[in-house]
């Protein structure tokens, strides 16, 4: 739920509100266009004017009216990490294309051509400039929701940043299709690093479950994962990564597929690190595990590796990387991964990640492991979120929030709207017709000190019974605490197995502080009594009515 100031909360609760949507469109070249879907109380603010507490009109912003034609609100969705997806929030609108009335707005300090007169205090001008619609795809849309009320000036309540997926021309209009800006960073695989055998190609073939996808590892805390053995100038080496970091290797063990477990640690064995240069003149840190006795004299003197037929096995290695060795809080890990996927630091609300870390510390939840084979980015992020029972919220910045079952608001007949003067309102309740009567599923995890390429599997109840297990598996490869694993899996299974009904209703704008993934309580005989609802999606309409869809879960 949005944290509102006293003023914001009073306006939101007011029965009579002014609603203003401010839409700022930047094309991919950074040229800005602005539309305010109403006129704010005053037309032009002086630069830096502070308007009531919390409302500051930024230097350089412009209040020109432009031609957004059929903006009908924005659709916000919860991430749904339990389904291994990060659902997009979306907005679609049409802008009139005859740009004679569109207004450019300029950042403060823009240098103008010699001789161009720019009025004192003016920061916008109707330039009537033609445009190229193809410039908009890949651009950015900021949408701000401003509310005013009786006795209250217009106040910004919240804002969102979207990426323009499509800008389609037709009949002097442009149809914009936008999605939250995180989505574009979720396309592709993670880690971003190349496959190891692509860096040092050879005729070696590999025998591993993830044979075709083993990449340069990205470790957090202490990882114990398989590393690929590559052939470089006549010898085998295990790939560590970027030599700008320092790697500390503490253990090597035999692959799980080969015989019994044999393990070598740094106290009794030598792990010789070196830097090797690939064909692109890029340096890489590699090492050899001196664990083989090449001359049968009882002393290890050669790099050891495992092979079956022509196929090499990846060798599990316990190691740390200097930049992530102490990064064991999931908030820090998720922030690192987001940045590594390309999200600018300025678009991450780090304070929310820090706050979430406090909760994880109270739980005793630590992250140790590595991404060592490529997966879809969406799956990577969903795995991390499931590992810390948290969700991402994408507004103007990305926020991390721990999921909580505490109800954020009670919905009564005073909130639920009806479309006609007399008759039933908008509330609907539909049972989930499930043919899956499972009551439990599995957690996969590994103990501390064991390699993280194979896992313990344990049955966990969603509620209290384990009579009809499902085949669902939550892999928690970064978590080593069995108690926490059970709790995380139970919470995950509840979302997967215990949904009893889908609910939908239209509510007043006084519910606009709610957010997807919030839990709310609905309470009235007209709505089937009292039940808690997990909000799946919220469509905030232009008129501030809000279509809420969610689910009710059993125990």
């Amino acid at each position: 739920m949005l944290a509102l100031t006293t003023t914001q909360a009073a306006i939101v609760a007011s029965e009579s509100k002014r609603v203003i949507w401010a839409i700022y469109i930047y094309d991919k070249n950074g040229v800005g266009y602005c539309s305010i879907l109403a006129t704010l109380n005053a037309t032009v603010w002086e630069s830096g004017t502070v308007w009531e507490t919390d409302t500051v009109w930024d230097n350089g912003e412009n209040l020109g009216t432009a031609l957004i034609m059929d903006f009908d609100g924005i659709e916000l969705r919860r991430a749904m990490a339990e389904e291994s997806i990060i659902s997009p929030s979306e907005v679609t609108f049409t802008m009139s294309a005859p740009f004679s009335t569109l207004t450019y707005f300029w950042e403060s300090g823009t240098a103008w051509e010699s001789g161009m007169a720019w009025d004192n205090g003016a920061n916008s001008e109707n330039l009537g400039t033609a445009f190229a619609y193809s410039n908009f795809t890949g651009g950015t849309v900021f949408i701000e929701l401003w509310l005013g009320g009786v006795g209250y000036n217009d106040t910004k309540i919240t804002s969102w940043k979207f990426n323009i997926k499509k800008a389609e021309p037709g009949y002097q209009k442009l149809k914009f299709v936008c999605e939250d800006f995180l989505q574009k960073y979720l396309r592709g695989n993670y880690p971003n690093t190349r496959l190891v055998e692509d860096i040092f190609p050879s005729n070696r073939t590999y025998n591993a479950d993830n044979g075709g996808k083993v990449c340069v590892p990205v470790p957090f805390g202490t990882a114990y994962v398989p590393l690929r053995d590559v052939f470089i100038a006549g010898a085998g080496y295990l790939m560590l990564g970027d030599p700008a970091n320092t790697f500390t290797i503490t253990k090597v063990r035999s692959p799980r597929s080969i015989g019994g477990k044999s393990e070598w640690d740094s106290g009794t064995s030598t792990f010789t690190q070196s830097s090797k240069t690939d064909a692109s003149a890029v340096n890489w840190r590699v090492f050899q595990a001196i664990i083989a006795d090449s001359n049968n004299d009882g002393v290890a003197d050669a790099h050891g590796f495992w092979k079956a037929g022509e196929n090499f096995y990846d060798t599990p290695v316990k190691f740390t990387r200097s930049d992530t060795a102490t990064m064991t809080a999931f908030g820090d890990v998720i922030e690192f991964v987001l940045k590594d996927m390309g999200v600018p630091a300025a678009n991450i609300n780090s304070a929310t990640f820090t706050t979430a870390n406090v909760t994880y510390a109270v739980w005793g939840l630590l992250c140790n492991g590595a991404f060592w084979y490529q997966q879809t980015r969406e799956a990577v992020l969903a795995e991390l979120l499931n590992s810390c029972h948290s969700t991402l919220r994408v507004g103007e910045k990305i926020e991390l929030h721990v999921l909580a079952k505490a109800s954020q608001k009670t919905i009564t007949p005073a909130e639920i709207l009806r479309s006609q003067g007399i008759g039933e309102g908008s509330f609907t309740y539909s049972d989930v017709l499930s043919e899956n009567y499972s009551d439990s599923g599995y957690a996969e995890w590994q103990e501390s000190g064991e390699s993280q390429d194979d896992f313990n599997k344990v049955l966990i109840p969603a509620g209290t019974t384990m009579v009809t297990p499902s085949s669902l598996i939550l892999r928690l490869r970064f978590v080593q605490d069995s108690d926490i694993v059970q709790t995380l899996t139970k919470l995950w299974l509840q979302r997967k197995l215990l949904r009893e009904a889908n609910l939908s209703f239209l509510v007043k704008g006084n519910c606009c502080a709610l957010q997807p993934d919030d839990v709310i309580t609905i309470n009235h005989a007209n709505y089937g009594g009292t039940h808690d609802i997990l909000i799946d999606s919220m469509k905030i309409n232009k008129d501030l009515s809000i279509q809420i869809s969610g689910g009710h879960y059993g125990t």
């Binding site: 009579s16 509100k17 109403a38 006129t39 005073a414 639920i416 309102g425 509330f427 704008g509 009235h524």
Partner: protein, 139 residues
């Protein structure tokens, strides 16, 4: 200016510039003149009968409508030309100046298809004239 009411449309619209400024439509309206004013607002009605009133814009939206029952050949031609000349009102496309029944000059646009009918005396009239008030000319 003929003050026909203590408050007029003129008091609630701002000064703007018309797209077509060469001439002003001054042909007087005939018969009953209807002023229609509203605001862009939505009233949400809840299941307990309580309301939430949403104002999407504080500005007023005005339309003025009347019928020209009979016009001289000259006036009928003026209106026909104003509506259909792409350099003038261009149908509903361009705004123009109109001297209203209250004596003020407003910037308006046509908000209807132009329908003309005549009688046996070859006098032409226009039915269903409807103008959207976009602003005013200061006087």
């Amino acid at each position: 200016v003929i003050l026909i009411s203590a408050a007029e449309i003129y008091d609630y619209v701002s000064t703007v510039t018309a797209d077509y400024t060469t001439t002003t439509l001054t042909i007087k309206a005939q018969g009953v003149v209807t002023e229609e004013g509203q605001k862009n607002q939505v009233i949400h009605l809840a299941d307990d009968n309580s309301e939430e009133r949403i104002t999407l814009s504080t500005g007023s939206i005005f339309y003025v409508s009347w019928d020209w029952a009979q016009l001289s050949e000259s006036d009928a031609g003026t209106i026909m030309d104003l509506y259909h000349d792409s350099a003038k009102a261009n149908g509903m496309g361009n705004s123009f100046k109109w001297t209203a029944h209250d004596g003020h000059t407003y910037v308006v646009r046509f908000a209807m298809p132009l329908t003309r009918s005549g009688n046996a005396l070859s006098r032409w009239g226009f039915q269903g004239i409807r103008l959207r008030i976009l602003g005013r000319i200061a006087d």
